[in-house]
Symmetry: C2
Subunit: 140 residues, 2 copies
């Protein structure tokens, strides 16, 4: 199976990119690099991709385990190399769960399954970055 | 320098992710995986990231070279592995340029500089995928 994405230049530093969902997104650079900051910066989309991929796994797995959570937030931090080409060589994912009587064992199992088995984006990141992940439980 | 991205669960399979630009994007899965298709699929964001990163380099370099183009489109095709975790193991970038009297040498130089020197996302992809790129000139 293949994904094919069209990214079309609009003007200045603005591009429009499509997605298998049918939705589109606008890309632009900062004013420092000649853009008008009217769209998403492309490199950081990698960190959204990672969080979204793993987040969907975790929600899906917790649903199957009948584990209820009130809120869930993922913070992905990517440290860039100093020299060109600048890429994320160290990446940390912090998984924050909020709820009453959170089941640590089930939550850890869901996160581990995503990281170790299901999340294809995590697998790609593993090839270029030193990865670290941490689970934070916020019991109400 | 680090990029820090917050991705917050909204409901069902919907997440909202931020970006250094201040813009946000919505992530959702397809109905097949329990979502409502109301947002972008996360894995394919990797291909938008790649196209956007390289596209911004190329437009910036062509501007510096005073090379005028009418239109510019990037098609990124990613072939997924069949087994979990499913990741893009073969990726092709097709750069399509449209214009009058396109200067092949300048365009090739801009694309090569992006691929070989500037595009950090391309550098990350190189670590997990077999990469291929091709330039297509469409003279009017």
């Amino acid at each position: 199976m293949s994904d094919v994405i069209n990214t079309v230049w609009q003007r200045d530093m603005v591009f429009e990119s499509d997605n298998p969902s049918g939705k589109k997104l606008t890309i632009d650079s900062s004013e420092e690099f000649g853009g008008t900051n009217s769209g998403l910066r492309p490199k950081a989309l990698m960190l959204s991709s990672l969080a979204g991929c793993s987040g969907l796994d975790v929600v899906s797995l917790l649903n199957k385990m009948k584990e209820e959570i009130d809120d869930f937030k993922i913070v992905t931090s990517g440290e860039l190399t100093e020299e060109h080409p600048k890429y994320y060589h160290k990446v940390k994912i912090d998984y924050h769960f909020y709820g009453k009587e959170l089941n640590e064992k089930k939550i850890k199992k869901a996160v581990d399954l995503s990281i170790e088995k299901y999340c294809g984006v995590y697998e790609m990141f593993r090839q270029f970055a030193k990865m670290e992940s941490e689970i934070h439980l916020h019991n109400k």
